[in-house]
């Protein structure tokens, strides 16, 4: 756990995203402090996933900037951001369907495996050594999320809950310092919700900053340090969970009605 709050790990400045005529994000600004668990909530269509998409380079921002550890990362592509230490999971499962759980983790260790191409081509002993150590690290991660028994199953054959864990494990495999989770708890049983919440806490305890989009506020508020609220593309509130719960604007946004000016 880091005590340094000198510079936020992530700074979002007036981030705007337009899709043709539709404004998905409008001048959203907030900071993410290193070592915290930040929750992002908001009614459907608020732009939460779009926020992640723009931060991680899946879509180009129409305006505004994103800073990661002081560096301007606006407009960088996903693979570049992964190299810098930002990783994310997806709301609707994005996995390598026909590949096994273990293969997923081996691939997610792609960046951190110094496999020379020629070595892999000729299957040299050096290559096999490194394969073994990658596999060991992969198994470590699988055990961490509780999937070690499923290692040879294909992603498509896993249950919903396990697929979710796999998504998180893959995101962790890239050794991120900032992890963005998109609705990790949706459609999970209460027992699994607890498991995932514990997982997130442990991840943070190991020094990773976590930003979580969630609809399940009851569960989310149990683990997050602060909350940001989006509604119709704008940030309407930011603060501690207790305060957000009582915030009038937030309550109005969820109950429907006109956008609060």
């Amino acid at each position: 756990m880091t005590a340094s709050h000198s510079q936020p790990i992530l700074q979002i400045e007036k981030l705007t995203k337009r899709f043709g005529g539709l404004i998905a994000l409008s001048e959203v600004s907030f900071d993410v402090r290193e070592g915290e668990i930040l929750g992002v909530i908001g009614p459907n269509g608020a732009g939460k996933t779009t926020l992640f998409d723009v931060i991680t380079g899946r879509y180009r921002a129409t305006g505004g900037k994103v800073f990661y550890r002081g560096e301007d990362i606006t407009g960088l592509k996903p693979h570049e951001l992964v190299q810098k230490g930002i990783s994310r999971s997806f709301q609707l499962e994005v996995l390598f369907g026909n590949l096994s759980v273990l293969q997923h983790l081996m691939l997610s260790r792609h960046l951190h495996t110094e496999v020379g191409f020629l070595d892999s081509f000729f299957h040299t002993p050096g290559h096999r050594e490194r394969e073994k150590s990658t596999e060991a690290k992969a198994m470590e991660l699988l055990t961490f999320v509780g999937l070690e028994d499923q290692k040879d199953k294909t992603a498509n054959s896993l249950s919903h809950g396990y697929q979710r864990s796999l998504g998180i494990a893959v995101a962790l495999g890239t050794e991120p310092r900032l992890l963005l989770l998109d609705e990790p708890l949706s459609a999970l049983s209460p027992e699994r919700v607890d498991v995932i919440l514990d997982l997130i806490r442990t991840i943070r305890d190991q020094g990773v900053t976590v930003v979580v989009i969630e609809h399940n506020m009851g569960a989310l508020f149990r683990i997050c340090d602060r909350v940001v609220v989006l509604s119709v593309g704008e940030k309407i509130a930011e603060g501690l969970p207790e305060d957000i719960k009582e915030n009038e604007k937030v309550i109005k946004a969820y109950l429907g009605g006109a956008v609060v000016a």
């Binding site: 996903p78 693979h79 992964v82 190299q83 997806f90 994005v94 390598f96 691939l107 960046l111 496999v115």
Partner: protein, 329 residues
């Protein structure tokens, strides 16, 4: 158990290769040697197409690039007087370089779009051969392409290539085919192959584990083009005549049919596909006009009943047997 199977497989492959090497002892007919030589060429082109498919995209510039290999090595020999043994690898390099220009604009596209854009730019290249008499010979193409230079091995009689000597071409094709297949097989088993698989499964997730998808796609496409060029080169110096129309989209469709009917999921798919269709064509010689029709029907039947191709049959059968066994238990 697994080991035993692996060695059995390897022994099997070795036996087939040895059989291929000794075939000319038994098959003397120039006609059948010709059939086999064209078969080697098509296997190289189909296998390399299948290699590019492993990353999830179908390129329709593949056959035009085979043509580029043909034109390149032919022109290098004819205009610059280089020996075939230099012209072949140089032609491959030239084609690989040109393929970068053809594929690079196509990279932002996927699926059918990629298919059409790769066709479009491949077609522009092919039309250049038809348009520019100098150096490509225009619609009349290149004629009198020289045969490979004779091979002088100490202690052996000189190996000459020419219209009357099919056997050297047979071995040339066989050796190049085996080399290509070996390379493609190793490439597929390497890190490159693993990343290709991942890209096919999910372009999005690949990006998010740090894979530079465009770069890998390009590498795979260029490698595919290089091997297609080898096939093209053999074609050029064996038939001594290349025309732009030899590489029109219809041939591309045939290659796709061979790959699809053989099965694109397994490495052996294209090989099986080519062999089946070449033999089939010989069977249909008396009704040669109907060959496209039969091809079309086979394709339709395969897509409807056995979409993963002929090479998926063993797996399907063993699964079916397994199911019956489970039902009985």
């Amino acid at each position: 158990m697994k080991h035993k199977n692996l060695w059995r497989k390897r022994a099997g492959v070795l036996a087939v290769i040895l059989a291929a090497f000794f075939l000319p002892v038994f098959v003397k007919s120039p006609y059948w040697l010709h059939v086999l030589i064209t078969m080697w060429t098509y296997i190289i082109v189909t296998a390399s197409l299948r290699f590019t498919i492993t990353m999830g995209e179908w390129s329709f510039a593949h056959v035009p690039l085979m043509g580029m290999g043909a034109y390149a090595s032919a022109l290098l020999m004819m205009k610059l007087g280089i020996s075939f043994w230099m012209a072949l690898p140089l032609g491959v390099l030239v084609t690989a370089a040109i393929s970068i220009f053809i594929y690079w604009p196509c990279l932002p596209t996927t699926g059918t779009f990629f298919f059409f854009t790769s066709f479009a730019f491949g077609e522009v290249m092919r039309l250049c051969w038809a348009r520019f008499k100098n150096p490509f010979g225009g619609t009349g193409g290149l004629v009198l392409i020289p045969a490979p230079n004779p091979i002088h091995l100490p202690g052996f009689p000189i190996i000459e290539f020419g219209p009357l000597y099919k056997i050297p071409y047979y071995y040339l094709g066989l050796v190049l085919m085996l080399f290509s297949l070996l390379m493609l097989y190793l490439l597929e088993g390497s890190r490159l192959g693993r990343v290709a698989e991942a890209i096919k499964e999910s372009n999005l997730l690949s990006q998010f584990v740090g894979i530079r998808v465009w770069r890998y796609k390009m590498v795979i496409l260029v490698i595919g083009a290089a091997f297609a060029a080898i096939g093209g080169s053999i074609y050029a110096h064996y038939t001594t005549l290349v025309l732009p129309v030899d590489f029109y989209w219809g041939l591309g469709v045939y290659i796709v049919i061979y790959a699809v009917v053989g099965g694109t999921k397994r490495f052996s798919g294209p090989i099986v596909g080519v062999i089946l269709f070449v033999l089939l064509r010989e069977l249909l010689r008396p009704i040669v006009m109907y060959v496209p029709l039969v091809y079309g029907l086979i394709l339709a039947a395969t897509l409807t009943f056995l979409p993963d191709g002929v090479t998926s049959l063993p797996e399907k059968i063993s699964k079916w047997i397994e199911r019956k066994r489970m039902a009985k238990a």
